[in-house]
């Protein structure tokens, strides 16, 4: 669709020409009318400029490739082909919602060999997900900006913005040390495994407590028990992905829940734990716990594609979900609705299934002061105390980055205090 528009300045020039012509008429002489001559020249030039051909195809390339991390800044190079005389050409790119244009860095449209023209600008990857560039509107603006002719040039492109990664945010967590089910431990040292494997001869350095005295007496040598290595700690991250979470206030708590889930899963996988994830909505989605690079990719893909789902009571969603998932994992429930009346029931279901539950609520960074954070934390704390759910000890030793209570007490994490700028590359 080619569009021709005229600016207000064309009206001004028209009025001026009228004034000069009126003066010429009033004085019955041609001399004042020569003031029209440069203006007529500008008008002729404007029409000629606007009639120059517009580009036919365009293509984009991103400096960092088509996969970006959230909060990345990248340069976008726009090449328009078939652009004769690119000097009065400028482009208006339809930037998708998840990318944010950084305005101070526009470059001039310049010739780039042949009939091509290039321009570049910088964008900030603001929001995880898959974003589609659609059309470029190429404009020709004439002398004095009098006339403007523009055309839409198709230039489809898909950019994937990955959720923030714990490694880039320099966030580390220590998973709970592997121990038997339900045995509280104060030490973070890796203990011995708890599953018997075989007997073998005692060697210097073995623990005295592992010596199998009966077998030693029988064989007249010192024999110790050998245990299998531990299973890695397993976590299931339940993310409240209901629409009410997304619409809570006018701020995007859904996105912040996902950010928190992404950072947590990334950090836990990095610490060699096994992590699974559940997006709780009317159509819940599951990824069973696993470890390693492929699991990280699976969780990343799930987070990229996730959208707020339909509404249902969170206790019913949890109840429907937990039966399908391995029990021997610890639950992390991320929800922004700490005032949800059925949340305590949901936590009790999780407690019955998994033993340990941690409830995390993304913070409210728009509120000055800590009032709302404190209220949310108090609510979560009261909730957990009432249900006597044990908190995961030592999962978030960020020290000053997040609010942390002593490990014996419930922990609630507020994402608002997470320093997003302190990232390392």
């Amino acid at each position: 669709v080619i569009r021709l528009t005229a600016s207000r300045r064309l009206l001004h020039v028209g009025v001026l020409m009228g004034a000069a012509a009126a003066a010429a008429l009033a004085f019955e002489t041609w001399v004042p009318a020569v003031a029209l001559v440069p203006l007529a020249g500008v008008l002729v030039l404007a029409i000629l400029e606007v009639l120059l051909p517009l580009p036919v195809t365009a293509s984009r390339s991103l400096e960092l490739g088509d996969r970006l991390l959230a909060n990345d800044t990248t340069r976008v190079d726009l090449v328009m082909e078939g652009a004769v005389a690119p000097f009065n050409l400028w482009a208006e790119d339809g930037i998708p919602e998840g990318l944010h244009l950084l305005k101070t860095t526009t470059q001039p449209v310049s010739p780039a060999g042949g009939a091509n023209a290039t321009t570049s600008y910088r964008v900030l990857a603001r929001r995880r997900g898959e974003h589609d560039f659609d059309v470029v509107r190429a404009h020709r603006t004439s002398a004095l900006g009098l006339l403007d002719r523009s055309v839409e040039v198709p230039a489809p492109m898909r950019v994937t913005v990955l959720p923030p990664s714990a490694r880039h945010l320099a966030v580390r967590v220590r998973p709970r040390p592997p121990t038997g089910q339900g045995v509280p431990t104060r030490s973070m040292r890796r203990g011995p495994g708890d599953e018997f494997f075989a007997l073998r001869q005692y060697q210097p350095g073995d623990t005295i407590s592992d010596v199998n005295w009966k077998a030693s007496a029988r064989l007249n040598r010192i024999i110790t028990n050998e245990f299998l290595p531990d299973e890695p700690p397993r976590y299931l991250i339940y993310v409240d992905a209901r629409a009410s979470g997304a619409e809570h206030g006018e701020h995007d708590v859904f996105e912040r829940s996902l950010t928190l889930a992404a950072i947590l899963s990334d950090a836990l996988l990095d610490a060699r734990a096994h992590v699974g994830m559940v997006l709780l909505s009317f159509h819940s989605q599951f990824v069973v716990p696993g470890g390693g690079f492929m699991q990280a990719r699976r969780l990343q893909r799930m987070l990229i594609d996730s959208k707020p789902g339909y509404e249902a009571s969170i206790s019913q969603l949890v109840l429907a979900g937990v039966a399908h998932l391995p029990a021997r994992a610890e639950a992390i429930l991320i929800t922004a609705n700490v005032y949800d009346p059925t949340l305590s029931q949901a936590v009790s279901f999780l407690r019955a299934r998994h033993g340990r539950v941690l409830v995390l609520a993304p913070g409210f960074p728009e509120v000055e002061g800590d009032d709302l954070d404190a209220a949310a934390a108090r609510a979560a704390s009261a909730l957990l105390n009432a249900e006597q759910a044990a908190a995961l000890a030592g999962i978030l030793p960020y020290a000053d980055r997040v609010a942390q209570w002593p490990p014996a007490e419930p922990i609630s994490v507020t994402l608002a205090r997470l320093d997003m700028s302190g990232r390392v590359r």
Binding site: V13, V37, G41, F87, N88, T106
Partner: protein, 236 residues
Amino acid sequence: MTQDEDPWLARSLRAGTGLLFYGSLMMADLVPDGRLDAPWLLGAVGLLIPVATVALWGHRTRPKNEAAWWILGLLAVVGLTAIGQVPLMAGLLVGFFLVHDLQLTPSVMLGGAMAALLIQPGYDWLDARQAEAWLVAFGMLLATAAAILERDRLAWRDGRPVSPMWTGGRVAFVALWTLAIVQYREQIEAGRVFALFGAEVTGFAGQMLLLAIILAALVLAGYLFRTRKPPEQAPA
């Protein structure tokens, strides 16, 4: 390097444009035998007053779309025109628009220069000759060039840079156009176009035809202006 990062770049560009516009104001004070008529410095005084106010009081002197500013502006325009100081008025107006980077500056430049050139108290246009035509055309040419430069500078400042070669090319086109038209006025024989429609240039029918052309141009401009203003920048 952008104009926001380097204030002296913007200042020197503004000074250049202002100087060009002052040249067009001086054309109004020139008389055909080459000597400058009396108050030729008043245009420069008008251009420098806003610079002084900005240096003293800064951003507060920026004209706004408020009743007080409209009344003050109209008083200045009407009063200075009434006492015959049109170049001072044009310089003052353009100076205020220029130092505050207002979008309307090119239009005000064209209008101010035309007012200064055509409203000359005590001047009898009936005696005007080819020499006066040259002065008017050259003054308008300087103002148009200043307006083109200022418009491209504003476009650059708002993030849409215009290459200097293109700006220069357009100024050169308008300059050549002006010189050619004024030089070959006799040969072009605009009167023949009027005669084609059965009207004589100096007669009543010719005047009515000219008036009709003006009205048609205004209607056309209004028709084109009816469309929406194009967005200046890609949406954020």
